[in-house]
């Protein structure tokens, strides 16, 4: 091993440092796409995770519709249903049926057995 040989190696290292290999076409774009996709995944694990867990917009729409229908039935019940809201507000009895009039339908008679 001679001095010129080691000098040549140093020169080769210098050349390699000065001219790093060119990145393949599209590599930066692919890495950037990975970065943004991963960022989006990580964000979806927060509030978006909860949103996704309940099924997203379609499920939320169904939830809102069911709530609205329930609320409306409470405010303005159909004529076939007792008006529970009014009964509660006015303090009237809200038992629609007379319990004593239908003894056969109460607990299959177990309540009678137990006195």
């Amino acid at each position: 091993m001679t001095k010129p040989d080691t000098d040549m190696l140093e020169t080769l290292f210098q050349d390699a440092r000065a001219a790093p290999p060119a990145l393949p076409d599209g590599l930066l774009d692919r890495i950037m796409a990975d970065a943004l996709a991963q960022q989006s995944n990580a964000r979806s694990r927060g509030w978006r995770g909860i949103w996704q867990a309940i099924g997203g917009a379609p499920a939320f729409g169904g939830l809102v519709a069911a709530t609205a229908v329930g609320f409306w039935i409470g405010v303005a019940p159909p004529s076939t249903l007792p008006d529970i809201a009014t009964q509660i507000i006015t303090g009237a009895s809200y038992a629609a049926l007379d319990d004593t009039a239908t003894p056969d339908l109460t607990a299959f008679g177990w309540d009678i057995d137990e006195g």
Binding site: L9, A19, L27, L28, I31, A35, Q38
Partner: protein
């Protein structure tokens, strides 16, 4: 989320501060990290593997691991670039081990573009090939250490962290690697144009 960017992080490791911003949803930080770190990861992988396609896969894989770990990154344990070099080094080791079971080690990348006919370009290409061929002939650990020290220009303590060995072991690996490279390249001075080099 255990990672908070502080002034110290910005001073000690600007990449760590960028990684924190990335974890908080900053797309510009992702772009900066990609542009700064990808060439270093690719450069190391290419020099160690001697194959552009494999180096490309390793680079994309290593960066993907960085994106995944970003929310849990703990500042002060290691520099982001050191961590990334370690991942690249390990991925290269895995590939070289697999290669040993099948493809011969001497299967290296072709010279860049055969249409480059100017004498200087040919000579530069020949020199790059000569260095790469000689690097490929080194044992894997020596090759990793030599590339990190003499081409990536890292300090021995950082190389020790990357290769998970002691600083003395790094010194030994680089010294033996340089001796082996010098021996491999001896006799090619004239062929590589170093006798009357004007370029």
């Amino acid at each position: 989320m255990s990672f908070d960017a502080s002034i110290d992080d910005v001073v000690d490791d600007p990449d760590a501060a960028l990684l924190a911003r990335y974890a908080q949803g900053d797309a510009a930080a992702a772009r900066l990290l990609t542009v700064q770190l990808s060439p270093r990861a690719f450069g190391h992988a290419f020099r160690v593997l001697g194959d552009r396609s494999e180096a490309e896969d390793v680079t994309q894989d290593a960066l993907m691991r960085l994106w995944k770990i970003a929310p849990e990154w703990r500042s002060g344990e290691a520099k982001v670039s050191t961590w990334l070099y370690r991942v690249v080094a390990n991925l290269c080791t895995d590939r070289l081990r697999k290669r040993r079971g099948g493809v011969p080690l001497e299967d290296i990348a072709e010279p860049a573009d055969p249409a480059e006919s100017a004498e200087a370009k040919l000579q530069r290409g020949a020199r790059e090939d000569a260095l790469q061929t000689a690097l490929d002939a080194l044992p894997e650990r020596q090759r990793q250490a030599v590339v990190l020290r003499h081409i990536e220009g890292l300090a021995n303590p950082e190389i020790a962290q990357i290769l998970e060995i002691g600083v003395e072991a790094v010194e030994s690996l680089t010294a033996r690697g340089k001796r082996a490279l010098t021996a491999l390249l001896a006799g090619q001075r004239e062929a590589l144009g170093y006798e009357d080099d004007k370029t």
